[in-house]
């Protein structure tokens, strides 16, 4: 192992050309002399699972909303005994986190009864509360969809007068934007209403299994808990159904065309084609509000806005079906296999009391786990897609008023700057004069884009500061896959990889050998060929449709419960996650061997 610490955040220099990057974020986000003593005393890791790339100013909103909401539940709602929140910073545009433990044993002790009362209430009423959660999310998404960001009218319409409304469109624009921000924060409040409790129950069952069977593979535990029917996999299932429908309706040939637009045009020309399109319309909402990334970046491509993605998958599925491949998921068999695994482990336990405890813990883990698996679709994919869409409507209005050249420029403003720009727009409209924005923003946006391009070319260190002797914070291990071992790996593995082997989490079982395909960004996934092994910084659930092309997956980032791991297990694909250096050490075309049972990746040539 190399030296025992990572650079201090204060040793990291700003790359030339990126000076002033701090102003692109909320003033509390960068490391600063004001809190240097504290910031230098703790260990920070880069959150590559959710924010692997540079954050644009507006995209940092979700980073702040998410981590603050997570923290709030640990600290103020449930009083997780040993854990406060996760503190967060941005350095050179990249997201860093540090878990904040409760260190005083007396304070931990004091938090226990409150935690038991509060978390206990949620566990006892989980089904009812979760059902309510789904309604809350639907309601929230509907409110978002209703927001009107259309441009300011030349003159207010007559009914504003006749109905005596007494307020105008400028008010509406500003209010709706504030509402969007409120709903976005509320969305993240909802996101963490259940999540940490879900992980806690899962960890409890996990710990019991490890104590009873010290060598039990992690994925055996995941297999016992995982749901058989999961919302996150519905989009893929819908695509498979639509592929079958295309064949049944005799319109499958249309999908041979490369562009979705051409396919749709062909389909619109026939009755059968229109029938298929009706089925598509029925399936697409909400299910194709599915992002090809983590959903945290405005640049992530959502299927509904990038139809070539789902249509590409459809073409692939149609080919498979025509080759006689069975794409259906044998639900009954999956259930039976899950029951078998559970019964066999239970049978091996020493006492009846143990069997009872095992059943109780498994029962709770299974009650809570659907949330852990499903929330990702409803929040990061569906609701975020709606928010990105609404923000682009707002961006369009700025473009119309000459503030921006492109509607996506809105994401280069901090969230509160959007209020100011709206004020500028409104005020000039109200006064009947010229806004400053059209002269101010193009110049400022150029400057910001230059800074962000510079930062994009910079590689963030995986961690900062002195690592803890042991990582014990349960959620850090669970969500981010940060363990004492992985920290050691970051410190130890330089550019040369030692034995040419990579180690990570044994995330999904099986062994595969094949040529590697290194994919650095989501828009490259079209390059993946049949029989290859996907090597990526991380994968998104929405990449599932290429999973029947590939043999295995290797990711740089992620733990046992990362979305990549969940999806790979679901699709029965060997996977090693959290290798840290996979995309750096492996090149496209190299033959590699992936052992998803032991968590090792070997370059064969």
């Amino acid at each position: 192992m190399a030296e025992g610490r990572f650079p201090s955040p204060f040793e990291i220099e700003t790359p030339a050309g990126a000076e002033g990057w701090e102003e692109l974020y909320t003033y509390s986000l960068p490391f600063s002399e004001d809190r240097r003593d504290y910031e230098d005393s703790v260990f920070w890791f880069q959150d590559g699972i959710h924010w692997p790339e540079v954050l644009t100013p507006w995209d940092a909103t979700f980073f702040e909303y998410a981590i603050a909401s997570l923290s709030q539940y640990n600290t103020r709602h449930y009083l997780i005994p040993p854990a406060l929140g996760i503190d967060y910073r941005v350095l050179n545009g990249y997201a860093y986190l540090t878990p904040v433990p409760v260190t005083d044993p007396a304070e931990i002790e004091a938090r226990v009864p409150k935690f038991m009362e509060r978390a206990g209430y949620y566990f006892q009423n989980w089904d009812r509360l979760y059902e309510n959660w789904r309604h809350k999310i639907d309601d929230l998404a509907n409110q978002l969809r209703a927001l009107d960001f259309s441009p300011l009218p030349e003159v207010e319409p007559m009914d504003v007068i006749t109905e005596g409304r007494g307020e105008g469109s400028g008010m509406r624009l500003q209010e709706n934007y504030r509402t969007l921000l409120n709903l976005a924060l509320r969305l993240w409040q909802y996101h963490f209403e259940f999540l940490n409790l879900g992980y806690a129950a899962y960890l409890d069952f996990f710990g019991f299994c490890k104590e009873a069977f010290p060598n039990i593979p992690d994925l055996a535990i995941a297999k016992m808990v995982a749901g058989v029917e999961v919302d996150l996999f519905v989009p893929d299932q819908k695509l498979k159904d639509l592929a079958q429908a295309a064949i049944d309706l005799g319109v499958a040939d249309a999908f041979a065309q490369d562009s979705a637009a051409a396919v749709i045009e062909t389909l619109e020309g026939s009755d059968a084609g229109r029938q298929w399109l009706a089925k598509w319309d029925e399936a697409k909402d909400p299910w194709f509000n599915f992002s090809n990334g983590s959903g945290f970046y405005h640049t992530d491509e959502v299927w509904l806005e990038h139809l070539d993605i789902p249509f590409g998958y459809l073409r692939n599925y149609i080919d498979k079906l025509r080759q006689g491949v069975d794409l259906s998921r044998p639900i009954d068999e999956l259930r039976a296999e899950r029951d078998r695994v559970v019964n066999e482990y239970m049978e091996l336990l020493p006492t009846d009391e143990d069997k009872e405890a095992f059943q109780g813990k498994l029962g709770l883990a299974r009650v809570v786990f659907p949330y852990v698996e499903n929330h990702n679709f409803w929040v990061e994919h569906y609701s975020h897609a709606v928010i990105w869409r609404k923000m682009r409507e707002l961006g369009e209005t700025f473009v119309k008023e000459g503030f921006f050249a492109d509607r996506d420029d809105v994401f280069f403003l901090k969230r509160d700057e959007v209020n100011e720009a709206l004020w500028d727009m409104y005020s000039a409209w109200a006064v009947g004069t010229e806004a400053r924005g059209p002269r101010y923003w193009p110049r400022e946006l150029d400057r910001r884009k230059g800074i962000l391009d510079t930062l994009r070319a910079w590689s963030p260190p995986p961690a900062l500061g002195e690592p803890p002797e042991v990582v014990t914070e349960p959620f850090t291990i669970m969500l981010w896959g940060i363990t004492s071992d992985s920290i050691g790996m970051w410190l130890g593995a330089g550019e040369e990889g030692g034995d040419g082997g990579l180690h990570g989490f044994a995330a999904s079982p099986g062994v595969a050998e094949g040529p590697a395909r290194v994919i650095l960004t989501a828009d490259q996934i079209g390059e993946v060929q049949e029989g290859e092994i996907l090597v990526a910084p991380l994968t998104a659930p929405s990449w599932a449709p290429i999973f029947n092309k590939i043999q295995a997956t290797v990711t740089d980032i992620g733990g046992m419960m990362s979305h990549a791991a969940i999806v790979c297990r679901e699709y029965g694909l060997p996977a090693v996650t959290g290798t840290a250096f996979g995309t750096k050490q492996i090149e496209t075309g190299q033959m590699i061997r992936v052992d998803g049972s032991t968590g090792t990746v070997t370059v064969l040539d």
């Binding site: 710990g207 069977f213 593979p217 055996a220 695994v341 349960p474 363990t483």
Partner: protein
């Protein structure tokens, strides 16, 4: 007349005509504990031989009637005469035909017309099905070719009349003339690799695992400790290989040139440091050990081999299964220890979290 019963066709009603040894081989095969393949030559064959030559039968009876247990030299002499007389009886044509056909079929399965077999007695008596003659009859190994097999069946039959066997029956009061014998004809294993397996982790007693030691060739090298074997740990529920340690296996016991005996030989380095089992074979051995554990209802210590003559997926054979004795004797520690309700468990988990990373999940290639 039913002269042949294959191990995988064994049924309870065959017991009186196949004897204890064949029953055990048949039952293990049926329980998913594949012993090396083979067949029983039933007592009908012996009876056919005995009854077809009334003169020979009377001669043997006369010889046996003269026995005096206090006269060791005389006993030996009479026993030798009896055996010779039995071996002189021509093999009944129908039996001869049945043996040759069955042997040819075994050869087909193994892809070798002269497949070496072990010929063993599987004794029984008409009213004494469980009569144990263990160790009293000879076993003939590496018998190959149908003529030799037929000849050794006769020797097997005659081996019921060694001086020791005769003396034993005399003491036990069994009638020599009521004796019937079945013969077990079983493929000799020619192992690519072999070893032992425990149906728990011997280092920590984890019952969810099968621990496998494996080396090239016959299992003697592993059992005797002459090589450091490859070691695999396999989860017995989801059959995942949890850890593997590949060691240099510098010697092996293998078949001699003539294919009729076993010799010790050095293993070239490249092969010595290669894994002695494929992943599929590792899982198949684990599965076999698990079946033995289920069959016997307790943790087992199993000897196994990968037979190179048998088709893939059927080539893992069980040689022996004994109860595991170390961990099985210890009282098992309960896991739950009166932890109270679910919430107490969750609090305790949050306060004492476990690492989610498996400890031993690395491949070590220990070349030198």
């Amino acid at each position: 007349m039913n002269y042949i019963v294959w191990f995988d066709e064994y049924r309870d009603e065959h017991l009186p005509i196949v004897g204890g040894k064949n029953r055990s081989l048949g039952e293990m095969t049926l329980a998913g504990l594949p012993v090396p393949p083979g067949f029983a030559l039933t007592t009908h064959a012996y009876r056919q031989m005995r009854d077809q030559d009334a003169d020979a039968r009377h001669e043997v009876q006369d010889l046996l009637a003269r026995i005096d247990l206090n006269d060791a030299a005389g006993l030996q002499e009479i026993a030798a005469k009896v055996r010779q007389r039995i071996e002189d009886i021509p093999m009944p044509a129908a039996v001869d035909e049945a043996i040759r056909q069955a042997y040819a079929r075994l050869g087909e399965v193994c892809g070798d017309g002269a497949i070496p077999v072990a010929v063993r007695s599987s004794a029984t008596a008409e009213d004494l099905v469980d009569a144990s003659f263990a160790g009293l009859q000879d076993t003939y190994l590496w018998v190959s070719g149908e003529d030799d097999v037929v000849a050794h069946v006769k020797r097997c039959w005659s081996s019921c009349f060694t001086d020791r066997a005769i003396a034993y029956r005399h003491e036990m009061g069994h009638d020599h003339d009521r004796l019937l014998m079945s013969v077990a004809i079983q493929k000799m294993i020619r192992p690519k690799a072999a070893g032992v397996a425990f149906t728990l982790n011997p280092s920590d007693g984890d019952r969810s695992q099968v621990a496998i030691d494996a080396a090239w060739g016959f299992g003697e090298s592993v059992v005797s400790g002459e090589v450091t074997p490859d070691n695999f740990l396999v989860d017995k529920v989801i059959y995942e290989i949890v850890s593997r340690t590949i060691s240099p296996k510098t010697i092996e016991y293998r078949l001699s040139e003539d294919g009729r005996s076993v010799e010790k030989a050095e293993v070239p380095e490249e092969r010595a440091t290669a894994p002695s089992l494929t992943d599929d074979e590792v899982k198949a051995v684990a599965w076999l050990a698990r079946q033995a554990e289920r069959h016997y209802g307790a943790p087992q210590d199993v000897e196994w081999a990968i037979d190179m003559d048998l088709p893939d997926n059927e080539n893992v054979v069980l040689l022996q299964s004994r109860p595991e004795t170390v961990w099985s004797q210890k009282p098992r520690k309960p896991v739950a220890r009166g932890q109270g309700g679910l919430m107490d468990g969750i609090v305790s988990t949050l306060l004492n979290p476990v690492h989610t990373r498996p400890k031993a999940a690395t491949t070590e290639e220990q070349g030198n």
